[in-house]
Protein backbone atom coordinates (compact mmCIF):
# COMPACT_ATOMS: atom_id res chain seq x y z
CA UNK A 1 0.00 0.00 0.00
CA UNK A 2 1.55 3.24 -1.08
CA UNK A 3 1.61 6.12 1.29
CA UNK A 4 1.20 9.09 -0.97
CA UNK A 5 -2.51 9.27 -1.45
CA UNK A 6 -2.03 12.81 -2.65
CA UNK A 7 0.89 14.62 -4.13
CA UNK A 8 3.22 16.05 -1.53
CA UNK A 9 6.27 18.19 -2.07
CA UNK A 10 8.32 15.02 -1.64
CA UNK A 11 6.83 13.71 -4.82
CA UNK A 12 7.84 16.82 -6.66
CA UNK A 13 11.38 17.01 -5.43
CA UNK A 14 12.99 14.62 -7.94
CA UNK A 15 11.96 16.91 -10.77
CA UNK A 16 14.90 18.92 -11.98
CA UNK A 17 13.59 22.42 -11.66
CA UNK A 18 15.95 23.88 -14.22
CA UNK A 19 15.03 21.56 -17.03
CA UNK A 20 12.69 22.99 -19.65
CA UNK A 21 10.72 20.37 -21.44
CA UNK A 22 11.23 20.57 -25.15
CA UNK A 23 7.93 20.14 -26.87
CA UNK A 24 7.76 18.14 -30.01
CA UNK A 25 6.04 20.42 -32.44
CA UNK A 26 2.27 20.07 -32.66
CA UNK A 27 2.25 17.28 -30.12
CA UNK A 28 0.84 18.48 -26.85
CA UNK A 29 1.05 16.06 -23.97
CA UNK A 30 -2.58 16.96 -23.43
CA UNK A 31 -4.28 15.75 -26.58
CA UNK A 32 -7.77 16.90 -27.41
CA UNK A 33 -8.83 13.40 -28.37
CA UNK A 34 -8.95 12.65 -24.67
CA UNK A 35 -12.23 14.54 -24.76
CA UNK A 36 -13.62 12.42 -27.53
CA UNK A 37 -15.19 9.35 -25.88
CA UNK A 38 -16.78 11.41 -23.12
CA UNK A 39 -17.89 14.07 -25.59
CA UNK A 40 -19.64 11.55 -27.84
CA UNK A 41 -21.63 10.00 -25.00
CA UNK A 42 -22.39 13.35 -23.43
CA UNK A 43 -23.50 14.98 -26.67
CA UNK A 44 -25.66 12.11 -27.83
CA UNK A 45 -27.37 11.35 -24.56
CA UNK A 46 -27.44 14.68 -22.80
CA UNK A 47 -26.81 17.72 -25.00
CA UNK A 48 -28.92 16.71 -28.00
CA UNK A 49 -31.98 15.67 -25.99
CA UNK A 50 -31.65 18.83 -23.89
CA UNK A 51 -31.57 21.13 -26.92
CA UNK A 52 -34.49 19.24 -28.41
CA UNK A 53 -36.45 19.61 -25.21
CA UNK A 54 -35.71 23.34 -25.07
CA UNK A 55 -37.47 23.61 -28.39
CA UNK A 56 -40.51 21.99 -26.84
CA UNK A 57 -40.57 24.68 -24.15
CA UNK A 58 -42.05 26.87 -26.87
CA UNK A 59 -44.84 24.43 -27.57
CA UNK A 60 -47.81 22.79 -26.00
CA UNK A 61 -46.70 19.19 -26.08
CA UNK A 62 -48.38 15.94 -25.11
CA UNK A 63 -45.40 13.79 -26.14
CA UNK A 64 -46.92 12.67 -29.41
CA UNK A 65 -47.96 15.98 -30.93
CA UNK A 66 -47.19 19.63 -30.29
CA UNK A 67 -48.48 23.10 -31.09
CA UNK A 68 -46.11 26.04 -31.30
CA UNK A 69 -47.24 28.70 -28.84
CA UNK A 70 -44.25 31.02 -28.58
CA UNK A 71 -43.53 32.25 -25.08
CA UNK A 72 -46.93 31.37 -23.61
CA UNK A 73 -45.46 28.68 -21.40
CA UNK A 74 -43.14 31.18 -19.77
CA UNK A 75 -45.97 33.61 -19.22
CA UNK A 76 -48.04 30.80 -17.73
CA UNK A 77 -45.16 29.70 -15.55
CA UNK A 78 -44.68 33.10 -13.99
CA UNK A 79 -48.39 33.23 -13.25
CA UNK A 80 -48.07 29.93 -11.44
CA UNK A 81 -49.05 30.76 -7.84
CA UNK A 82 -46.63 28.21 -6.46
CA UNK A 83 -43.68 29.54 -8.43
CA UNK A 84 -42.88 32.62 -6.33
CA UNK A 85 -43.16 30.59 -3.16
CA UNK A 86 -41.06 27.95 -4.87
CA UNK A 87 -38.35 30.45 -5.78
CA UNK A 88 -38.07 31.77 -2.23
CA UNK A 89 -38.04 28.26 -0.83
CA UNK A 90 -35.37 27.18 -3.30
CA UNK A 91 -33.03 29.94 -2.16
CA UNK A 92 -33.68 29.24 1.51
CA UNK A 93 -33.14 25.54 1.01
CA UNK A 94 -30.00 25.98 -1.08
CA UNK A 95 -28.50 28.43 1.40
CA UNK A 96 -29.33 26.48 4.55
CA UNK A 97 -28.10 23.14 3.21
CA UNK A 98 -24.89 24.40 1.66
CA UNK A 99 -23.87 26.61 4.58
CA UNK A 100 -24.47 23.80 7.05
CA UNK A 101 -22.69 21.28 4.85
CA UNK A 102 -19.65 23.52 4.39
CA UNK A 103 -19.35 24.45 8.05
CA UNK A 104 -20.15 21.07 9.54
CA UNK A 105 -18.21 19.22 6.85
CA UNK A 106 -15.10 21.31 7.52
CA UNK A 107 -15.31 20.93 11.29
CA UNK A 108 -15.95 17.22 11.07
CA UNK A 109 -13.07 16.77 8.65
CA UNK A 110 -10.67 18.60 10.96
CA UNK A 111 -11.93 16.52 13.86
CA UNK A 112 -11.58 13.28 11.94
CA UNK A 113 -8.09 14.03 10.68
CA UNK A 114 -6.93 14.96 14.17
CA UNK A 115 -5.81 12.29 16.58
CA UNK A 116 -9.00 11.56 18.43
CA UNK A 117 -10.12 8.16 19.53
CA UNK A 118 -12.56 6.02 17.54
CA UNK A 119 -11.74 7.81 14.32
CA UNK A 120 -12.54 4.86 12.09
CA UNK A 121 -15.88 4.32 13.77
CA UNK A 122 -16.81 7.99 13.49
CA UNK A 123 -15.90 8.19 9.85
CA UNK A 124 -17.92 5.14 8.96
CA UNK A 125 -20.97 6.03 10.94
CA UNK A 126 -21.07 9.57 9.62
CA UNK A 127 -20.83 8.40 6.06
CA UNK A 128 -23.55 5.81 6.46
CA UNK A 129 -26.45 8.16 5.55
CA UNK A 130 -24.75 8.99 2.26
CA UNK A 131 -25.19 5.34 1.32
CA UNK A 132 -28.93 5.39 1.85
CA UNK A 133 -31.27 6.26 -0.98
CA UNK A 134 -33.42 9.38 -0.80
CA UNK A 135 -36.54 7.25 -0.83
CA UNK A 136 -35.24 5.21 2.08
CA UNK A 137 -34.23 8.29 4.06
CA UNK A 138 -37.60 9.84 3.27
CA UNK A 139 -39.49 6.84 4.62
CA UNK A 140 -37.36 6.62 7.75
CA UNK A 141 -37.52 10.29 8.64
CA UNK A 142 -41.20 10.66 7.87
CA UNK A 143 -41.66 8.02 10.55
CA UNK A 144 -39.16 9.63 12.95
CA UNK A 145 -40.62 13.09 12.49
CA UNK A 146 -44.23 12.14 13.07
CA UNK A 147 -45.51 14.87 15.41
CA UNK A 148 -47.18 12.56 17.91
CA UNK A 149 -45.67 9.10 17.65
CA UNK A 150 -42.37 10.04 16.06
CA UNK A 151 -39.21 9.22 17.94
CA UNK A 152 -37.79 12.72 17.66
CA UNK A 153 -40.67 14.35 19.44
CA UNK A 154 -40.89 11.55 21.98
CA UNK A 155 -37.22 12.08 22.70
CA UNK A 156 -37.71 15.82 23.03
CA UNK A 157 -40.73 15.30 25.26
CA UNK A 158 -38.59 13.16 27.56
CA UNK A 159 -36.40 16.19 28.24
CA UNK A 160 -39.38 18.48 28.52
CA UNK A 161 -39.44 20.06 25.09
CA UNK A 162 -42.56 20.13 22.97
CA UNK A 163 -41.31 19.41 19.45
CA UNK A 164 -42.97 21.02 16.44
CA UNK A 165 -44.97 19.15 13.82
CA UNK A 166 -41.83 18.84 11.70
CA UNK A 167 -43.24 17.98 8.32
CA UNK A 168 -46.82 19.16 8.62
CA UNK A 169 -46.41 22.61 10.16
CA UNK A 170 -46.08 25.04 7.26
CA UNK A 171 -43.46 27.01 9.21
CA UNK A 172 -41.25 23.96 9.73
CA UNK A 173 -41.71 21.67 6.73
CA UNK A 174 -39.03 23.16 4.50
CA UNK A 175 -36.46 23.52 7.28
CA UNK A 176 -37.09 19.97 8.45
CA UNK A 177 -36.38 18.56 5.01
CA UNK A 178 -33.29 20.77 4.73
CA UNK A 179 -32.00 19.39 8.03
CA UNK A 180 -32.53 15.83 6.85
CA UNK A 181 -30.72 16.75 3.63
CA UNK A 182 -27.77 17.91 5.73
CA UNK A 183 -27.93 14.73 7.79
CA UNK A 184 -27.77 12.71 4.60
CA UNK A 185 -25.17 14.81 2.82
CA UNK A 186 -22.72 16.01 5.45
CA UNK A 187 -20.75 12.77 5.23
CA UNK A 188 -19.92 13.46 1.61
CA UNK A 189 -18.82 17.02 2.31
CA UNK A 190 -16.65 15.70 5.11
CA UNK A 191 -14.99 13.11 2.89
CA UNK A 192 -14.20 15.72 0.26
CA UNK A 193 -12.72 17.93 2.97
CA UNK A 194 -10.76 15.05 4.43
CA UNK A 195 -9.25 14.36 1.02
CA UNK A 196 -8.40 18.06 0.78
CA UNK A 197 -6.87 18.26 4.25
CA UNK A 198 -4.88 15.07 3.82
CA UNK A 199 -3.30 16.49 0.70
CA UNK A 200 -1.94 19.48 2.66
CA UNK A 201 1.74 18.74 3.25
CA UNK A 202 2.26 17.68 6.85
CA UNK A 203 5.40 19.85 6.96
CA UNK A 204 3.29 23.00 7.14
CA UNK A 205 1.61 21.86 10.32
CA UNK A 206 4.93 20.79 11.79
CA UNK A 207 6.48 24.13 11.02
CA UNK A 208 3.52 25.94 12.55
CA UNK A 209 3.76 23.76 15.64
CA UNK A 210 7.41 24.58 16.03
CA UNK A 211 6.55 28.25 15.78
CA UNK A 212 4.20 27.66 18.67
CA UNK A 213 0.99 28.27 16.74
CA UNK A 214 -2.20 27.07 18.43
CA UNK A 215 -4.50 24.60 16.75
CA UNK A 216 -6.87 27.47 16.11
CA UNK A 217 -4.19 29.45 14.38
CA UNK A 218 -3.05 26.62 12.19
CA UNK A 219 -6.66 25.91 11.27
CA UNK A 220 -7.23 29.46 10.07
CA UNK A 221 -3.79 29.98 8.57
CA UNK A 222 -3.09 26.60 7.01
CA UNK A 223 -6.09 24.30 6.80
CA UNK A 224 -8.67 26.81 5.72
CA UNK A 225 -6.70 28.47 2.89
CA UNK A 226 -5.02 25.32 1.62
CA UNK A 227 -8.23 23.31 1.58
CA UNK A 228 -9.72 25.90 -0.72
CA UNK A 229 -10.18 23.57 -3.72
CA UNK A 230 -12.14 21.28 -1.45
CA UNK A 231 -14.20 24.19 -0.14
CA UNK A 232 -14.92 25.33 -3.67
CA UNK A 233 -16.03 21.85 -4.63
CA UNK A 234 -18.23 21.44 -1.56
CA UNK A 235 -19.82 24.86 -2.01
CA UNK A 236 -20.54 24.38 -5.70
CA UNK A 237 -21.81 20.84 -5.33
CA UNK A 238 -24.02 21.46 -2.32
CA UNK A 239 -25.36 24.71 -3.70
CA UNK A 240 -26.24 23.11 -7.02
CA UNK A 241 -27.66 20.15 -5.14
CA UNK A 242 -29.64 22.49 -2.91
CA UNK A 243 -31.00 24.65 -5.71
CA UNK A 244 -31.98 21.62 -7.75
CA UNK A 245 -33.03 19.55 -4.79
CA UNK A 246 -36.00 17.42 -5.45
CA UNK A 247 -35.68 13.78 -4.35
CA UNK A 248 -35.83 14.30 -0.65
CA UNK A 249 -38.51 16.97 -0.73
CA UNK A 250 -40.60 14.73 -2.92
CA UNK A 251 -40.04 11.71 -0.72
CA UNK A 252 -40.93 13.59 2.48
CA UNK A 253 -43.49 16.32 1.85
CA UNK A 254 -44.23 16.37 -1.89
CA UNK A 255 -44.05 20.16 -1.52
CA UNK A 256 -46.71 20.19 1.16
CA UNK A 257 -48.58 20.85 3.31
CA UNK A 258 -50.38 22.53 0.44
CA UNK A 259 -47.65 24.39 -1.43
CA UNK A 260 -45.64 25.50 1.59
CA UNK A 261 -42.47 23.48 0.95
CA UNK A 262 -42.53 23.60 -2.83
CA UNK A 263 -39.23 24.36 -4.55
CA UNK A 264 -38.76 25.17 -8.24
CA UNK A 265 -37.82 21.60 -9.04
CA UNK A 266 -40.96 20.21 -7.41
CA UNK A 267 -43.16 22.81 -9.13
CA UNK A 268 -41.63 21.72 -12.44
CA UNK A 269 -42.08 18.07 -11.62
CA UNK A 270 -45.74 18.61 -10.82
CA UNK A 271 -46.26 20.15 -14.25
CA UNK A 272 -44.52 17.15 -15.74
CA UNK A 273 -46.66 14.75 -13.73
CA UNK A 274 -49.80 16.51 -14.84
CA UNK A 275 -48.76 15.98 -18.45
CA UNK A 276 -47.89 19.62 -19.21
CA UNK A 277 -44.65 18.66 -20.90
CA UNK A 278 -44.07 21.94 -22.71
CA UNK A 279 -44.68 23.86 -19.52
CA UNK A 280 -42.32 21.69 -17.52
CA UNK A 281 -39.48 22.05 -20.04
CA UNK A 282 -40.06 25.81 -19.89
CA UNK A 283 -39.63 25.41 -16.14
CA UNK A 284 -36.35 23.60 -16.73
CA UNK A 285 -35.14 26.48 -18.87
CA UNK A 286 -36.01 28.94 -16.10
CA UNK A 287 -34.34 26.77 -13.46
CA UNK A 288 -31.26 26.49 -15.66
CA UNK A 289 -31.03 30.26 -16.11
CA UNK A 290 -31.45 30.92 -12.39
CA UNK A 291 -28.94 28.34 -11.23
CA UNK A 292 -26.43 29.37 -13.89
CA UNK A 293 -26.81 33.02 -12.88
CA UNK A 294 -25.83 32.08 -9.33
CA UNK A 295 -23.32 29.31 -9.90
CA UNK A 296 -21.34 30.66 -12.86
CA UNK A 297 -20.06 33.86 -11.17
CA UNK A 298 -19.55 31.99 -7.93
CA UNK A 299 -17.61 29.23 -9.63
CA UNK A 300 -15.45 31.75 -11.51
CA UNK A 301 -14.82 33.61 -8.26
CA UNK A 302 -13.85 30.47 -6.38
CA UNK A 303 -11.61 29.26 -9.18
CA UNK A 304 -9.85 32.59 -9.54
CA UNK A 305 -8.98 32.58 -5.87
CA UNK A 306 -7.66 29.12 -6.35
CA UNK A 307 -5.31 30.25 -9.10
CA UNK A 308 -4.07 33.20 -7.05
CA UNK A 309 -2.96 30.86 -4.30
Amino acid sequence: MTLNTAPTPTAVRPVPQAAHPKRRKGKSPYPYWFYLPAAVIYTALFLVPTVVSFFFSLTRWNLSEFTFIGLDNFVQLFQEPALIKGLTNTFIYGLVTSVLKVVLGMLLAVLLTSQIIARGYLRSVMFFPVLLSSIGVGIVFTALMDPRNGMINEGLAAIGIQGPAWLTDPAWALISVALVDVWKGVGLATVIYIAGIVSIPQEYFEAAKMDGASSFKSFFNITLPLARPATATVIILSLIGGLRSFDLIWAMTKGGPGFTSDVIASVIYKQYQAGFYGLSTAGNVVLFVIVTAIILPLSMFLNRKEVEQ
Binding site: N4, A6, P7, Y30, Y32, L111, I117, F127, I139, M151
Partner: protein, 276 residues
Amino acid sequence: MSTALKRYGLGVLAIAVSVVVFIIPLLFMVLTAVKDRKEAAKLDFAWPTNFQFVENFTAVLSARKFMLVTAFINSTILTVASVTILVILAAMVAWVLQRRKSRWNGVANFLILSGLIIPPAIVPTIWVLQSMGLFKTLPGLILIEVAFGLSFCVMLFRAFIASIPKELDEAAVIDGCGPVRLFFRVIFPLLRSVIITVIVVQSVHIFNDFQNPLYFLPGDANATVQLTLFNFQSQFTTNYNLLFMNILLITVPPFIMYLFFNRQIVAGMTAGAVKG
Protein backbone atom coordinates in the same frame (compact mmCIF):
# COMPACT_ATOMS: atom_id res chain seq x y z
CA MET B 1 -5.71 22.02 26.35
CA SER B 2 -3.56 18.95 26.73
CA THR B 3 -3.34 16.53 23.86
CA ALA B 4 -4.68 13.60 25.84
CA LEU B 5 -7.67 15.59 27.01
CA LYS B 6 -8.35 16.65 23.47
CA ARG B 7 -7.90 13.15 22.15
CA TYR B 8 -10.28 11.57 24.63
CA GLY B 9 -12.55 14.45 25.55
CA LEU B 10 -13.38 15.40 21.99
CA GLY B 11 -13.53 11.76 21.00
CA VAL B 12 -16.02 10.86 23.71
CA LEU B 13 -18.10 13.91 22.90
CA ALA B 14 -18.06 13.05 19.20
CA ILE B 15 -19.07 9.48 19.92
CA ALA B 16 -21.94 10.63 22.12
CA VAL B 17 -23.22 12.99 19.45
CA SER B 18 -22.80 10.39 16.73
CA VAL B 19 -24.84 7.89 18.72
CA VAL B 20 -27.77 10.29 18.98
CA VAL B 21 -27.58 11.64 15.46
CA PHE B 22 -26.58 8.60 13.45
CA ILE B 23 -26.75 5.38 15.46
CA ILE B 24 -30.25 5.79 16.87
CA PRO B 25 -31.93 6.30 13.48
CA LEU B 26 -29.94 3.35 12.18
CA LEU B 27 -30.91 1.22 15.14
CA PHE B 28 -34.51 2.28 14.66
CA MET B 29 -34.38 0.97 11.10
CA VAL B 30 -32.82 -2.31 12.17
CA LEU B 31 -35.28 -2.85 15.02
CA THR B 32 -38.28 -2.07 12.86
CA ALA B 33 -36.99 -4.40 10.19
CA VAL B 34 -37.02 -7.39 12.54
CA LYS B 35 -40.39 -6.71 14.17
CA ASP B 36 -43.70 -8.26 13.25
CA ARG B 37 -46.22 -6.29 11.24
CA LYS B 38 -48.30 -5.02 14.17
CA GLU B 39 -45.35 -3.88 16.28
CA ALA B 40 -43.61 -2.28 13.35
CA ALA B 41 -46.71 -0.25 12.54
CA LYS B 42 -46.29 1.62 15.83
CA LEU B 43 -42.97 2.98 14.57
CA ASP B 44 -41.62 3.34 18.07
CA PHE B 45 -38.14 2.80 19.41
CA ALA B 46 -38.79 -0.36 21.37
CA TRP B 47 -37.12 -3.73 21.58
CA PRO B 48 -39.09 -6.22 19.47
CA THR B 49 -40.94 -8.80 21.55
CA ASN B 50 -41.13 -11.07 18.59
CA PHE B 51 -37.98 -11.38 16.49
CA GLN B 52 -38.82 -12.04 12.89
CA PHE B 53 -35.53 -11.57 11.12
CA VAL B 54 -35.70 -14.75 9.06
CA GLU B 55 -39.37 -14.40 8.17
CA ASN B 56 -39.04 -10.78 7.10
CA PHE B 57 -35.83 -11.48 5.26
CA THR B 58 -37.36 -14.28 3.20
CA ALA B 59 -40.59 -12.35 2.67
CA VAL B 60 -38.70 -9.42 1.17
CA LEU B 61 -36.36 -11.60 -0.83
CA SER B 62 -39.07 -13.77 -2.34
CA ALA B 63 -41.60 -11.00 -3.01
CA ARG B 64 -42.72 -10.72 -6.62
CA LYS B 65 -40.89 -13.86 -7.73
CA PHE B 66 -37.53 -13.03 -6.16
CA MET B 67 -37.46 -9.66 -7.84
CA LEU B 68 -34.89 -8.44 -5.33
CA VAL B 69 -32.35 -11.05 -6.44
CA THR B 70 -32.71 -10.03 -10.09
CA ALA B 71 -32.49 -6.45 -8.98
CA PHE B 72 -29.25 -7.03 -7.08
CA ILE B 73 -27.66 -8.60 -10.14
CA ASN B 74 -28.85 -5.84 -12.47
CA SER B 75 -27.81 -3.06 -10.13
CA THR B 76 -24.39 -4.53 -9.55
CA ILE B 77 -23.63 -4.83 -13.26
CA LEU B 78 -25.00 -1.36 -13.87
CA THR B 79 -22.99 0.20 -11.07
CA VAL B 80 -19.66 -1.49 -11.74
CA ALA B 81 -19.76 -0.89 -15.49
CA SER B 82 -20.87 2.70 -15.43
CA VAL B 83 -18.56 3.74 -12.60
CA THR B 84 -15.55 2.20 -14.33
CA ILE B 85 -16.29 4.02 -17.56
CA LEU B 86 -17.06 7.22 -15.69
CA VAL B 87 -13.82 7.27 -13.72
CA ILE B 88 -11.62 6.76 -16.78
CA LEU B 89 -13.45 9.12 -19.14
CA ALA B 90 -13.99 11.86 -16.57
CA ALA B 91 -10.36 11.78 -15.44
CA MET B 92 -9.19 12.08 -19.05
CA VAL B 93 -11.43 15.07 -19.67
CA ALA B 94 -10.57 16.75 -16.40
CA TRP B 95 -6.85 16.35 -16.95
CA VAL B 96 -6.78 17.93 -20.40
CA LEU B 97 -9.28 20.57 -19.35
CA GLN B 98 -7.18 21.55 -16.36
CA ARG B 99 -3.81 21.47 -18.10
CA ARG B 100 -4.43 22.79 -21.57
CA LYS B 101 -5.72 26.33 -21.59
CA SER B 102 -7.59 27.25 -24.73
CA ARG B 103 -10.48 29.42 -25.70
CA TRP B 104 -12.69 26.34 -25.74
CA ASN B 105 -12.27 25.88 -22.02
CA GLY B 106 -15.02 28.37 -21.28
CA VAL B 107 -17.44 26.51 -23.51
CA ALA B 108 -16.45 23.15 -22.07
CA ASN B 109 -16.82 24.42 -18.52
CA PHE B 110 -20.22 25.80 -19.31
CA LEU B 111 -21.39 22.55 -20.90
CA ILE B 112 -20.15 20.61 -17.90
CA LEU B 113 -21.89 22.95 -15.51
CA SER B 114 -25.11 22.66 -17.45
CA GLY B 115 -24.96 18.91 -16.99
CA LEU B 116 -25.05 19.45 -13.26
CA ILE B 117 -27.92 21.88 -13.44
CA ILE B 118 -30.38 20.79 -16.11
CA PRO B 119 -32.63 17.88 -15.31
CA PRO B 120 -32.40 15.42 -18.20
CA ALA B 121 -35.16 15.43 -20.82
CA ILE B 122 -36.60 11.97 -20.70
CA VAL B 123 -38.57 11.52 -23.88
CA PRO B 124 -35.99 12.96 -26.33
CA THR B 125 -33.36 10.82 -24.61
CA ILE B 126 -35.50 7.76 -25.24
CA TRP B 127 -35.72 8.76 -28.90
CA VAL B 128 -31.92 8.85 -29.12
CA LEU B 129 -31.61 5.48 -27.38
CA GLN B 130 -34.21 3.96 -29.67
CA SER B 131 -32.42 5.19 -32.76
CA MET B 132 -29.28 3.50 -31.49
CA GLY B 133 -31.20 0.35 -30.62
CA LEU B 134 -30.16 0.65 -26.98
CA PHE B 135 -33.49 1.47 -25.37
CA LYS B 136 -34.53 -1.04 -22.71
CA THR B 137 -31.07 -2.54 -22.61
CA LEU B 138 -28.58 -2.55 -19.78
CA PRO B 139 -25.79 -1.09 -21.98
CA GLY B 140 -28.16 1.75 -22.85
CA LEU B 141 -28.79 2.50 -19.19
CA ILE B 142 -25.06 2.29 -18.47
CA LEU B 143 -24.37 4.94 -21.09
CA ILE B 144 -27.16 7.08 -19.63
CA GLU B 145 -25.64 6.91 -16.17
CA VAL B 146 -22.25 7.78 -17.66
CA ALA B 147 -23.65 10.76 -19.55
CA PHE B 148 -25.52 12.10 -16.51
CA GLY B 149 -22.63 11.49 -14.11
CA LEU B 150 -19.82 12.96 -16.20
CA SER B 151 -20.24 16.56 -15.08
CA PHE B 152 -20.00 15.76 -11.42
CA CYS B 153 -16.95 13.55 -11.86
CA VAL B 154 -15.10 15.97 -14.12
CA MET B 155 -15.61 18.73 -11.55
CA LEU B 156 -14.25 16.63 -8.71
CA PHE B 157 -11.26 15.43 -10.73
CA ARG B 158 -10.41 18.87 -12.00
CA ALA B 159 -10.27 20.36 -8.52
CA PHE B 160 -7.72 17.77 -7.48
CA ILE B 161 -5.68 17.71 -10.66
CA ALA B 162 -5.15 21.41 -10.00
CA SER B 163 -3.13 20.43 -6.96
CA ILE B 164 -0.79 18.11 -8.87
CA PRO B 165 2.34 20.03 -9.86
CA LYS B 166 2.65 20.49 -13.59
CA GLU B 167 6.38 19.86 -13.35
CA LEU B 168 5.55 16.22 -12.89
CA ASP B 169 4.01 15.99 -16.36
CA GLU B 170 6.91 17.83 -17.85
CA ALA B 171 9.44 15.49 -16.28
CA ALA B 172 7.56 12.53 -17.67
CA VAL B 173 7.42 14.07 -21.11
CA ILE B 174 11.19 14.53 -21.02
CA ASP B 175 11.49 10.87 -20.14
CA GLY B 176 9.75 10.21 -23.43
CA CYS B 177 6.27 9.43 -22.17
CA GLY B 178 3.51 9.79 -24.75
CA PRO B 179 0.19 11.27 -23.62
CA VAL B 180 -1.42 7.89 -23.01
CA ARG B 181 1.42 6.56 -20.90
CA LEU B 182 1.84 9.89 -19.15
CA PHE B 183 -1.80 9.88 -18.17
CA PHE B 184 -2.33 6.27 -17.24
CA ARG B 185 1.07 5.57 -15.70
CA VAL B 186 1.93 8.85 -14.02
CA ILE B 187 -1.19 10.90 -13.42
CA PHE B 188 -3.86 8.28 -12.85
CA PRO B 189 -2.12 6.67 -9.85
CA LEU B 190 -1.66 10.09 -8.25
CA LEU B 191 -5.40 10.65 -8.38
CA ARG B 192 -6.01 7.74 -6.07
CA SER B 193 -7.73 9.54 -3.24
CA VAL B 194 -10.06 11.43 -5.54
CA ILE B 195 -10.71 8.31 -7.60
CA ILE B 196 -11.80 6.56 -4.45
CA THR B 197 -14.05 9.48 -3.62
CA VAL B 198 -15.56 9.39 -7.10
CA ILE B 199 -16.03 5.64 -6.98
CA VAL B 200 -17.73 5.76 -3.61
CA VAL B 201 -19.96 8.70 -4.44
CA GLN B 202 -20.93 7.60 -7.93
CA SER B 203 -21.49 3.96 -7.00
CA VAL B 204 -23.83 5.01 -4.26
CA HIS B 205 -25.53 7.46 -6.57
CA ILE B 206 -26.03 5.00 -9.41
CA PHE B 207 -26.87 2.09 -7.15
CA ASN B 208 -29.49 4.26 -5.47
CA ASP B 209 -30.85 5.79 -8.66
CA PHE B 210 -34.45 5.01 -9.42
CA GLN B 211 -35.59 7.69 -11.84
CA ASN B 212 -33.37 6.57 -14.73
CA PRO B 213 -34.02 2.82 -14.49
CA LEU B 214 -37.72 3.59 -14.15
CA TYR B 215 -37.79 5.34 -17.52
CA PHE B 216 -34.93 3.87 -19.53
CA LEU B 217 -35.07 0.23 -18.45
CA PRO B 218 -38.72 -0.56 -17.78
CA GLY B 219 -40.08 -4.01 -17.01
CA ASP B 220 -39.95 -6.22 -13.93
CA ALA B 221 -37.25 -8.45 -15.40
CA ASN B 222 -35.01 -5.40 -15.56
CA ALA B 223 -35.73 -4.16 -12.05
CA THR B 224 -33.01 -2.42 -10.10
CA VAL B 225 -32.84 -2.30 -6.32
CA GLN B 226 -34.42 1.10 -5.83
CA LEU B 227 -37.35 0.06 -7.96
CA THR B 228 -38.03 -2.77 -5.55
CA LEU B 229 -38.23 -0.20 -2.78
CA PHE B 230 -40.40 2.00 -4.95
CA ASN B 231 -42.69 -0.95 -5.55
CA PHE B 232 -42.71 -2.14 -1.97
CA GLN B 233 -43.47 1.33 -0.73
CA SER B 234 -46.90 1.24 -2.29
CA GLN B 235 -47.37 -2.49 -2.04
CA PHE B 236 -46.46 -2.75 1.62
CA THR B 237 -48.21 0.38 2.83
CA THR B 238 -48.87 -1.29 6.13
CA ASN B 239 -45.82 -3.53 6.34
CA TYR B 240 -43.21 -1.20 7.75
CA ASN B 241 -41.15 -4.17 8.88
CA LEU B 242 -40.76 -5.41 5.30
CA LEU B 243 -40.22 -1.91 3.97
CA PHE B 244 -37.41 -1.28 6.44
CA MET B 245 -35.95 -4.73 5.83
CA ASN B 246 -35.84 -3.88 2.15
CA ILE B 247 -34.14 -0.54 2.84
CA LEU B 248 -31.53 -2.31 4.96
CA LEU B 249 -30.90 -5.09 2.46
CA ILE B 250 -30.32 -2.74 -0.44
CA THR B 251 -27.97 -0.65 1.68
CA VAL B 252 -25.67 -3.59 2.36
CA PRO B 253 -23.74 -3.58 -0.95
CA PRO B 254 -22.89 0.14 -0.85
CA PHE B 255 -21.90 -0.23 2.78
CA ILE B 256 -19.52 -3.10 2.07
CA MET B 257 -18.02 -1.12 -0.77
CA TYR B 258 -17.60 1.89 1.46
CA LEU B 259 -15.92 -0.13 4.20
CA PHE B 260 -13.54 -1.57 1.62
CA PHE B 261 -12.49 1.78 0.18
CA ASN B 262 -12.62 3.54 3.51
CA ARG B 263 -9.86 1.28 4.81
CA GLN B 264 -7.68 2.42 1.97
CA ILE B 265 -8.22 6.09 2.71
CA VAL B 266 -7.74 5.53 6.42
CA ALA B 267 -4.57 3.54 5.82
CA GLY B 268 -3.07 6.40 3.87
CA MET B 269 -4.13 8.92 6.48
CA THR B 270 -2.79 7.07 9.48
CA ALA B 271 0.54 6.59 7.76
CA GLY B 272 0.68 10.32 7.18
CA ALA B 273 -0.33 11.10 10.72
CA VAL B 274 2.24 8.77 12.28
CA LYS B 275 4.97 10.93 10.81
CA GLY B 276 3.80 13.96 12.76
